[in-house]
Structures are given as C-alpha cells and as structure tokens.
C-alpha cells in the first residue's frame, strides 16, 4: 500500500513538473493552428477553430525538405564524426589516465570559449578561401569541431561510471584494449553514449550563428528556414509557430526513438 501511494505522489509531482515546463511549447504548438489575428488576441484563446493555413503557407513558401535534409545531414554527420574521434579519446583518458589528463580535458574545453561573435570575420574569410562557404561539408566540419570537446567530456564522465573491474576481467580473458573498447565498454556505456549523441545532435540542430553566417542557399539548414519567419514586418507568430513545429519535428522523432536507450540504466545488479 505504501508503495502505490508513493507512486501516485510521484506521478502527480512528476507530471506537474513536466506540464509546467512543457507549457510554453504547448502554447506555441497551439498557436501554429490559429490565424494570425487569433494568435495575438487577449484573452488568450484555448478554444478556437484550428486551421492548417500556416502550415500550407510555410510549405509553399520555403523548400522545407531541402532545409530539413541539410539539417539532418549536418547534425547527424557532425555527431557521428565527433563520436568517432571522441570515443577512443575518452576511453584512453578514463581508463589509462596520465598526469596530463585533467589538463588535456580542460584545454579541450577551452577551445570552445571564444564567443562566435568575436571570431566571425576570420572564420568567414577562412571558409571563403577554402571554398567551404555554403556547403554541407563546411558546416559539418565546424559542428564537429564545436561539439568535440563536449562529447569527449561527457563520454569521459560516463566511461568513468563503468567499473574498471569488468574491463579488467575482459583483459584477463585475453581481450586487447580495442576489443575491450568495442565488445565490453561500448555496450555497457550505451545509454551514456546515446544521451551524449542526442545532446550533440540537438546542439548541432539548433546552432544558429554559424549556420546563418556560413551558408546561404545550398547548405542552409533549418535554422535559416526559421530565420525567414521571425520578425518580418507584420504579424507572424502563428506562422513562426508552425515553422518551429516543423523544425523540431525530425529531432523530436529522433529523441523519442532513442528513449529506449536512455531508459536502460546500467544495472549491474542484473549481472548477478
């Protein structure tokens, strides 16, 4: 009896938190189905006749699929690339730390400290000279580099959570470090890797400074798509809401699908 009362209590609390946090997004989603005039009306209307005109207009006006494809390519590409670089590095630092490890970690993170605003012009010129302006490749490279420090840090943290004994046991069984990495560590740390990947994906997906400045038409991702709906002269909140829904849709799908990985905790109890 005590357990279920606790469970109900947690349900109420958990859902209250979720609803409060989610509310602004819910409101935005609602606005996507209102007309522009309704969107700014007071008192705010919860009951209204929904319309799809905003979505129609957005589809007609912008090449959504092109932007979405660019976003997907850039985000997934940079995340995968970052993981490829980061997993070995984090493995080395987590299980074979040297004196220099904390410094290396810190130094990696310090590469992120430059505010993009300050380095825009040099980077723009660099990209122009390398012919990477307005390309998916160029943007992927930048995002890999931007996210690499964070991915390394997070993987390092999750790897540290894995008891060394298991890998040691594998080593005793004759596994080389690489085999330990691939056959033991990665499966055990999969939730950590998954959430790291998801976060890197989202960071790349929403990055709005480099994507707007280094691309124009061919390589432009969904952030540029959104930038064409925000703050024109005139009422725009309904259309922006619709466009934003369309921009989050792919990533929400990915997030939902990766829930399963995130849910599986490391349960060493099961090892028994």
């Amino acid at each position: 009896m005590r357990a279920s009362r606790g469970k109900i209590g947690f349900t109420v609390l958990g859902w209250s938190v979720a609803l409060v946090i989610f509310f602004p997004i819910f409101w935005m989603a609602l606005t996507a189905f209102k007309t522009e005039v309704e969107a700014v009306a007071t008192p705010p209307s919860l009951w209204f006749t929904p319309t799809l005109e905003n979505f129609e207009e957005v589809f007609e006006r912008s090449d959504y699929l092109k932007f979405a494809w660019n976003s997907i390519a850039v985000s997934f590409g940079s995340t995968l690339l970052a993981l490829v670089f980061a997993v070995p590095a984090a493995y080395a630092m987590a299980f074979f730390p040297s004196k220099r490890t904390p410094d290396t970690l810190l130094w990696m993170l310090s590469t992120k400290m430059m505010p993009p605003v300050g380095v825009l012009v040099p980077m723009y010129l660099l990209f122009k000279n390398l012919g990477l302006l307005d390309t998916v490749t160029g943007l992927t490279i930048i995002y890999t580099l931007i996210n690499l420090p964070i991915v390394v840090w997070m993987l390092y943290t999750y790897f540290k959570d894995v008891p060394y004994e298991i890998l040691e046991a594998g080593r005793v069984d004759g596994a080389t470090p690489l085999q330990q990495l691939f056959l033991l560590l990665i499966p055990l740390a999969l939730p950590g890797i998954a959430s790291t990947g998801l976060l890197a994906l989202i960071l790349a997906w929403n990055e709005a400074f480099w994507s707007l400045n280094l691309t124009s038409s061919q390589g432009a991702p969904l952030t540029a798509f959104i930038a064409s709906y925000s703050a024109p002269q005139g009422l725009f909140w309904a259309k922006l809401s619709a466009a934003s829904l369309m921009a989050i849709a792919p990533i929400l799908v990915v997030g939902w699908m990766s829930q399963r990985q995130l849910v599986q905790g490391l349960t060493f109890g099961a090892v028994k």
Partner: protein, 439 residues
C-alpha cells in the same frame, strides 16, 4: 520506424527533382528580407522563370537584421554568394561609395525611371548614378481610431502637432478598459526606437551631429523631445513599451489596444485588412505630427534590389531586378494577389491607378508623406549627413543602437532622461572619435 520509409522516399524524390532543376543555365541567388511584398515576389517569380527559361532563381529569405549582417559580410569580403541583394536607402550610398555595387545605368526605355518617386530614386543614388532599383517605399504617418475619437468628440487634423497628440492621448486613454492612448516604439535599436525618435527629434529642431560631426545628443532639443516622449508614454502608453517594436505595436493596434500609433506607412495596409486586423473598419490616417518644424517629421525608407560587383551573373541579375520593379510587375501583383498587396511607395503610376486607389483609400496620404520626406535636409539646422531616421554613416548602426538602449532605460524609469542622454552623448562621442570623424 514506420515514419522513416515514407520520409526517405520523399527525400529521395525531392533530391532528384533538385538535381534536374540544377541543370538550368544560370542561377541567380537572391538575398531578401521576409516582408510581405518580398514573399509575394518570391511566389510570382515563377512567372519570371517561365519567361526566362535559362535563368533559375535561388531565394534566400531572412529576417532583416540577419539579412543585413549576412549580405554586408558577403559584400565586404567579396565572397560572391549572392547575385541580388535587398538593401535599403541606408546601405546603398555607403556601399556605392566603396565601389561594391554595380551602377544600374543601362535600363530599358520602357522601365520609365521617371515614374519612380523622386525621393526614393535619390535615396538610392550616389553621385548621380542609380545603384539599386526600389521595390518598396515607406514613410511614417499617424494611425488613429476613428471610433474612439468620435466618442471623445475629437477631430484629428490632417497634420497634427505633438501637443495635439498629447491632448488626444489624455482624452482617449482608458487603461482600465485596456485602451492606451498612444503606442510608440520603445525597443532599442537603430532601426527600431531610434527610427521613430529621430523624426521626433528632427521635428523638435534637433539633429544628430553638427556640421563638424560633434554629436548633439545632450542638446536642449533632444532633452525636450525625449522628455516629451517619456512623459507621454508613461502616462498614456501601454506597459512593456520598452520592448515593443514595430510588430508588437502592430499587434496591439490591430487588437484594439491603441488609440493612436505613429509608425511606418506600410502598416496602413495591414491595419486596413480585416484578415489581419480587428479594427479594419475603424482606423483613420493622418500625416506624422510636427512640433517646431515640419522638417524631418516623417521618415523615408526604401527596400531595393542591388547587384554586387562580386556577382558572377550580373546580366541575368539585372534582368531579374528590372522585371521585379517594373510597371508590369506591379500590375501582375494587383491582378493576381489583390491591389492591397501591391508594393507601395515606388512608382507614381501605382498611385494614379484607379484600382489601387479604390482598394487603398489611404494611398494619397502615403504618397504625400513619401514625396515630402527629404533625407538630404532632415533638420532645421544644417547637417553633414543624409537620412531622416538614420545617419548615413557606417558607424550609425552601433551608435544608434547604444543611444536607443540608453533611451529605453529612461523610458522604463531606470534613469532620468538627462542622465540617459548624457551617457548616450558620451558613447557617441567615443565612437566618432574612434572612427576618425573627430580629432
């Protein structure tokens, strides 16, 4: 899982279509702002592509501030990402001076350059040559609620004074009922609150800089104008005024919260449209108010299409810009989208067109405002710069925004007006000195 299959099929289809389209001859990349007129142009540009099958148009649509930063970075580094840029009367003379733009002097005879309104034409020229073709022009005017005025027994003169405005605001404000007598821009920005405030200062007899480029922000005229503004907004303005820009005020007026609003003429069409405005049948129009002098009381702005020198396809680009700003294009918009969607403020012929006048009864007021705006002489005193609501120097974006921030601080009561203007003066002087205008 199920969603991936149709999505990838759609993606594959889209990619293959894109692939075939890319085989067309010349691609013209157009960077433009996401205003209504431009959206319409993007829609109708398919007709241009049909008439010119060897030209493919590539649209990059962004909001104003992002666009400005993007195209300026592009043109200043000669990157050639864009073939057509949408810029305004602020950028054109500065960029033309740098030699970044192609002069547009060999226009076809039927383009009828004389039909383009003179102030707009002059605003887009440098040393006598035209560097951009306008597709949109605006000035500022006063919007008011005819019903509220009638109830209070007031009559709005054709050209009110700011004292009139204060009296009217006092009479029609009813904060309890959510009606605020006057809504004005307050969001900091050189193109936001400072656009309006520059006209206010001009008409009070002030100016941004004297002939030697000394800033005059703490002059008595500025103090009087800004003091009036802060008092007016505190007494009769809506809450949140310091973060209200054009869009927020438009939303407020369109939902019936404002008694009066002084802002861009383009809002006339939006407020008049029952699909976008709850007060479409109640809105009245008048000229922008004046105070001590009519000079610089209403602004002039035009969005125009320019071709950077770094473009690789200038001929095709020029073909497009001539088409997009021509008389037949305006006719096309009128017949296919409706006459209220016609780009305003560019050609005399638009305003002589009976169909346009019928759909937009505010048109003559708008025309009058545009024709009487003079960026070359925006103040009662002589000035070394052009521009009514801005100063045509590259440093103005930063100066204007910082001054706007200070004034927003005065508006919220964070600091008294005098102190705000003093710190704004210090900022402007610093910047001018750093930029080499002052020794």
């Amino acid at each position: 899982m199920m969603r991936i299959v149709p999505l990838s099929a759609a993606l594959a289809a889209a990619l293959s279509l894109a692939g075939t389209a890319a085989h067309a001859a010349t691609t013209v990349t157009i960077a433009t702002v996401n205003n209504g007129e431009m959206i319409v142009m993007q829609k109708l540009s398919k007709q241009f592509e049909e008439k010119h099958p060897d030209i493919k148009l590539n649209w990059v649509v962004l909001e104003e501030n992002v666009l400005r930063q993007r195209v300026t970075t592009d043109i200043a580094t000669g990157s050639g990402q864009f073939d057509v840029m949408t810029i305004g009367t602020y950028e054109v003379p500065i960029w033309a001076k740098q030699g970044w733009l192609l002069p547009l002097d060999n226009l076809p005879a039927d383009y009828d350059l004389d039909d383009v309104l003179k102030p707009v034409r002059d605003g887009l020229s440098y040393e006598g040559k035209l560097y951009a073709l306008p597709f949109y022009g605006e000035s500022s005017m006063t919007f008011y609620r005819k019903d509220l005025f009638k109830k209070a027994g007031l009559k709005m003169p054709e050209r009110p004074t700011y004292d009139d405005i204060a009296k009217f605001a006092a009479a029609i404000t009813d904060k309890g009922a959510g009606v605020y007598g006057i809504c004005l821009r307050g969001k900091p920005g050189w193109g936001e609150n400072m656009a309006f405030l520059s006209t206010l200062i001009n008409t009070y007899g002030g100016r941004w800089f004297d002939e030697k480029w000394n800033p005059e922000i703490d002059s008595p005229q500025w103090k009087q104008a800004i003091g009036f503004y802060v008092e007016l907004m505190t007494k009769y303005g809506p809450p949140g005024a310091s973060s209200n820009g054009f869009n927020e005020n438009l939303a407020l007026f369109a939902s019936g919260k404002c008694g009066m609003w002084i802002d861009a003429t383009v809002a006339a069409g939006m407020l008049f449209n029952p699909k976008e405005s709850q007060v479409a049948d109640k809105v009245g129009f008048a000229q922008a108010p004046v105070a001590v002098t009519p000079k610089g009381a209403h602004w002039l702005w035009s969005w125009a299409l320019a071709i950077p020198k770094s473009s690789k396809v200038p001929e095709a680009a020029q073909q497009f810009v001539t088409w997009a700003t021509s008389k037949p294009y305006i006719e096309l918009v009128g017949t296919s989208e409706g006459w209220t969607s016609v780009p305003p403020g560019t050609r005399k012929s638009t305003y002589q067109n009976p169909k346009y006048r019928e759909a937009a009864p505010f048109a003559p007021s708008v025309l009058q405002a545009i024709e009487t705006a003079d960026p070359t002489s925006p103040s009662a005193k002589p000035v070394p710069y052009t521009g009514v609501q801005y100063v045509g120097i590259p440093e103005f974006q930063a100066i204007g925004t910082q001054v706007g921030q200070a004034i927003a601080g005065a508006l919220t009561g964070q600091m008294p007006v005098d102190q705000a203007l003093k710190s704004a003066q210090a900022v402007a002087t610093r910047t001018m000195r750093q930029a080499g205008y002052l020794k």
